[in-house]
Amino acid sequence: MKTKKKILSKGESAEKKILLENITSMIETFNTTPSLQEELKGTQGWINATIGFKIDNDKNMRMAVVIKDGKITVRKSIPKNADATLVFATKKDLTDYKTASKDKVCRMILASRVRVDGNLALYGYFDYLSSLIFGEDDIKASKVQAKEHHKENLALAKNAKKSGRQTKKKRIAGRLKGEKVDPGVHWLDEPYLSKYDLDDFPRVKQFKHDHHTTLPEVTAEQGKLLTDFYIKNGYETKKDGTPWDPNLRTAEGFYYLMANKEPVVRQDDLLAGTITPNPICGSVTQPYTIGWSIWGELRTIHERELDPYDISSETIETLHKHVFPFWKDRNIHQLWKVQFNNPLPAKINDRMFCLNLWGLVSLNPGSPGFEKVLKKGLTGIKKEINEELKKDAKANKEKKNTLEAIKISLDGVSVYTKNLATQVKKEAGKEKNPKRKKELEDMHTVLLRVPENPARTLHEALQALWIMYIAVGLEGMDDDVALGRLDQILQPYFEADMKKISTKKDHEAYLSHALELVGCLFMRITSHRVGAPTIASWQNSGAPAVASTVVGGVTPKGKDGVNDMTYIVLKIVEMLSLNDPDMDARFMPGVNSRTFLKRVCEVNYITWGTPAIHNDDAVIKAWSQFKGWAIEDIRDWVPVGCVEPVIAGKHLAATGDIDSNLMAPFGMALNNGRHPVAMWDLGPKTGRVEDFKTFDAFYNAFKKQFTFIYSQAFIGSKQLLTIHQQLMPSPIYSALLDGCIKKGRGMTRGGAKYNSSGASLIALSDVVDSLLVIKRLVFEEKKYTFKELKEAVDTNFEGHKKMHALINSSVPKFGSGSKEATDMANKVTHMVSDLLHNEDNGRGGHYSTGYRTNNNHTVYGRVSGASPSGRLAGKPFTPGLTPSPLASKNILDNIGDVAKLDPLTLDNNIAFNVRLVFSDKNTHRQNVDHVTDIVQTYCEQGGMQMQFIMADSDTLKDAMAHPEYYSDLIVRVSGYTGYYVQMQRDLQLEILGRCEYEV
């Protein structure tokens, strides 16, 4: 007995030893090195934290590090008031963690093998301190891994043709001319603008070059200014002890930020102003939403493999000592846990296997009504507010404060604009080059006019739009703010300019200027990223800040909306091939011309895969089902975030509110409520598989687990909404949404004319295919018992090769043209929308349902076991709701099946990814025509959305091995667009593994 105990305790101490070794050496170094002790002190005093370490269900493995008043000590237990605890699921996970590669650590986190409970920001602080000792090792590990990946990539590309390096050049050279057929095109004789290429715009070409060759920079301007302001003026209460109104607190802080923000004009740019002090590309590092999450990586972020950032030592110090300590308890994540006593939805969310609530970051994606500022100017909005207050004598306190806050915030924009004007004037004064001097003087004139007053010219409209984009971004979280219907917004200004010009030659010159201006806007928009921790880069690597922009579609009256600006914007998209603005096109069958659609397809062909294409008819149908939504407004919809529909300037849609893994409730139904990856008895006990007598009985269990997960998601979503109401009431954004001023309620309080929140589900195809297998093989043909099937799934089909082959060869999948399969898919999407459409989101709207997946289909697939569909463990789910590559060799089957899904269940849109490759027998024109045929038919059949990657496997392999040739190879992930060469390797492989259809 005694000996046994001794051995056991030895075993336990082995794990403890692992931790202790590192921690003890770290502590010793800290406590004996004065310069390191300095790192424990912030501008607001010592930064204290107690960090625990434990193994789940192992009472013996407990310890803690206490950082207090400049000293670090170790404890053998975890104090009750510990701020954060690193939890390993099992002993093995702890030992694995110690030797794990960077990739493996991410996989462990995503598979719930290791997690952090408690205050994540303070855990990040501990990580930061560790990086001061072990940072070099960490950077070395990143480099080793990058090297390994490179080696693997070279091997993978060994036999790949290198012709992909020339493909883009060839496609650019082959560009088509277009006919002037669209009724809204007045000024372009050849709307495809084929005579221009990027060489005609050296300024924009230089910006593009810088974009591809410069690392984005983590900046601290916003964090520092907000922190300064609230330290001085109080945060929880004002300095005099009276409570803040949340709107006014935000507005005052925002005013201070804008008034003190550095007015930057990029050299040679035509549009003034920047989001961050870095004019090429910066991360705002918004301190209370997501900025704090890079605390642990401040000293390694410049050398990490995925999404590296430049960072200055001054920025590191400002963020570490000044900004993050202030916001460590004041960020959304922490406030959620504290105010709601660490609720179950937070626990589920933090374990990552199932829910991803974007409310932790923002209520975006969305589309504020920038057009309103272009039309009315800031003065017009202020006038609207004054009139509203005059009209409503009994306005309550909330209304008064909300409207006052809007005015203060708008003043902040005005002050920033004035500072920009002063700066431009200064630079004009110093400028020696007369041409540039003239440009600066013109910019000065523009800045004196807008956004204060209505815009009159295209230049004014673009400058106003850009400043408002900066403002909305900096007021909130600077993610997923859409530009909206750029062609509709800009056309009146373009026409006004054109009408003032009398000669043909001047028209030509102006057109070239207009292209350059829009090019400048695009380069401005792409000048920011959201700096996020490695794990987020791992999840959505290469994702931009996503400024969705759309052209085409119908007007509010249902007429053809294609105009001159449509083609001008498409030309810019073709020439720049940027991942952001994230480009979309709307197509209304029977209204928009084939000429337009063909151009959209050609731009896809030239750029490898943008814009994404949306069918107006299906989206408008989906949103017309809801009572009280005016058809004229619905017709003005814009895709935001990845694909999600929003009514610009009228609708707070929070379209990313609930991202979830549909395979999670499905797996729980197979395991009687236990989640097999998280090893967590989470859901209701819905029965063991051997007890299900019918397929319907199993389906009901799935439905119960689904309902359970979503009931938790709803709770979490609404809790986060209340946090937003306190923390981020967004007065400016609210001013740009119809309804808020009149109601006197900000957007977080349901002020917008229309409200909804969005859900998106991952793994639909795989769940549907799995259901079909269970139905057919277990309950209809009775080839296997449910228990046998589950055993095969649990063992990744090891020893069940025949069953696996039978599943793949004999059960029709979604996308194969089988009615049974599309019926099953519709059954599932109806189950989802029936629940979500009937839940109030806390702002008087419903939850919309959609199927885009970012990169989560790869990530969740990587950490999930096998599925009954035959998908093997670790393999990605399909992107969006794309059918399995095994469904059919014929792309028309895929297309036909996706088009058969009921649009009423897809109001948050879908991502249907198609990878096309082209035979070199065909001409440019034939290829473009063929793609156009496919898209047109898909839309006419009712399909909602489609996006392409037009690169063949050899090109992708060559790009993995030789990224230097493919810096602007953009690919559609599932929704967002990214540069292929910047993506995480698993994602690259997933894209490579997507079925390629030869055209």
Partner: protein, 306 residues
């Protein structure tokens, strides 16, 4: 007898204008030295084995009542022992073993193809009958084409040209919108040597149809497979060009040698007679193809590479 259908392929761009479905018929009256679809040569049912799909479970070996099959052996089936009972096909969980050709009735084919009609409509595509040689089943194909015409679907026939012209004109031609007519070579002896039959009937059929196509509503495109050393010799090409000139052919197609078909022999349990160094085992050189085009374009004949 219902014909055997090998496959109905969707989204084919090589077999006519627009997006098309191609119905492959089994059996051909010629016996070409090269054969791009060896599985469609014989009119009989055959066994097919897709090695890449095989999981090595040996279900077929256990199931075969005659001991004729073994995926480890080459060829995988001993033809003398196999009586084509297809027990192995039924037992194969991976569908690695399959029939080459299934009997299908007209409505089954129509139903399979009809779901792609919206794509045909947008792209100006339709249905192509190919093979093998569809005209071996003249009545069936004519009924099938009539059904497609009734549905408003464009029909295209790919043919080796060896058929009875009288019944072709009465039965099939009225329902055929377009004909891709193979002219392998003009020299009749050579044709006999490499294709197993003299070409007199084929050339006459072509001439008849060519004349007719000038007044009737169907299009006719001659196509020549370019097989190294056989149909790409100077003599062969000049003879072809003369023939085209004589019969006012201004547009024709060439099909470049594509060696993928050689692998298909293994899947049929047969051995290919093509030697390892034969240039037929390689993709046709693109520059050479341009030279061929030039031979014809000099004489005002436009060549498209199909």
């Amino acid at each position: 007898m219902k014909p055997l259908i090998i496959d109905i392929k969707g989204n084919s761009l090589d077999d006519g204008p627009g997006i098309r479905s191609v119905v492959f018929f089994k059996g051909c009256p010629l016996d070409c030295f090269w054969y791009h679809n060896p599985e469609s040569k014989s009119v009989q049912n055959e066994l097919w084995w897709e090695k890449s799909k095989c999981i090595g479970c040996k279900s077929c070996e256990k199931a075969c009542p005659h001991g004729a099959i073994s995926p480890d052996a080459s060829p995988f089936v001993t033809k003398d022992l196999c009586d084509l009972c297809y027990t192995c096909v039924e037992e194969c969980p991976a569908k690695a073993l399959d029939h080459v050709g299934k009997e299908m009735d007209i409505e089954t084919i129509v139903k399979k193809v009809l779901r792609y009609k919206p794509f045909f409509d947008t792209s100006g595509g339709g249905v192509t009958a190919s093979g093998g040689e569809p005209t071996m089943h003249m009545k069936f194909v004519s009924q099938l084409f009539k059904r497609f015409n009734d549905e408003g679907i464009h029909t295209l026939l790919e043919t080796c040209g060896l058929f009875d012209i009288a019944s072709f004109e009465t039965m099939l031609l009225p329902h055929t919108d377009s004909i891709y007519f193979d002219l392998k070579c003009i020299d009749s002896e050579k044709h006999k040597k490499y294709c197993g039959a003299y070409n007199k009937g084929i050339l006459n059929n072509f001439i008849t149809l060519k004349k007719k196509s000038q007044s009737e509503e169907f299009s006719l495109l001659p196509r020549t497979p370019i097989i190294p050393g056989i149909t790409d010799t100077e003599d062969a090409l000049l003879a072809l060009a003369d023939f085209y000139e004589k019969h006012s052919v201004h547009k024709a197609a060439i099909l470049l040698n594509n060696p993928i078909w050689i692998e298909k022999f293994e899947k049929l349990g047969k051995e290919s007679t093509i030697g390892a160094k034969n240039p037929i085992r390689k993709f046709y050189d693109k520059e050479k193809a341009e030279e061929i085009k030039h031979v014809f374009s000099k004489r005002g004949i436009k060549i498209i590479i199909g």
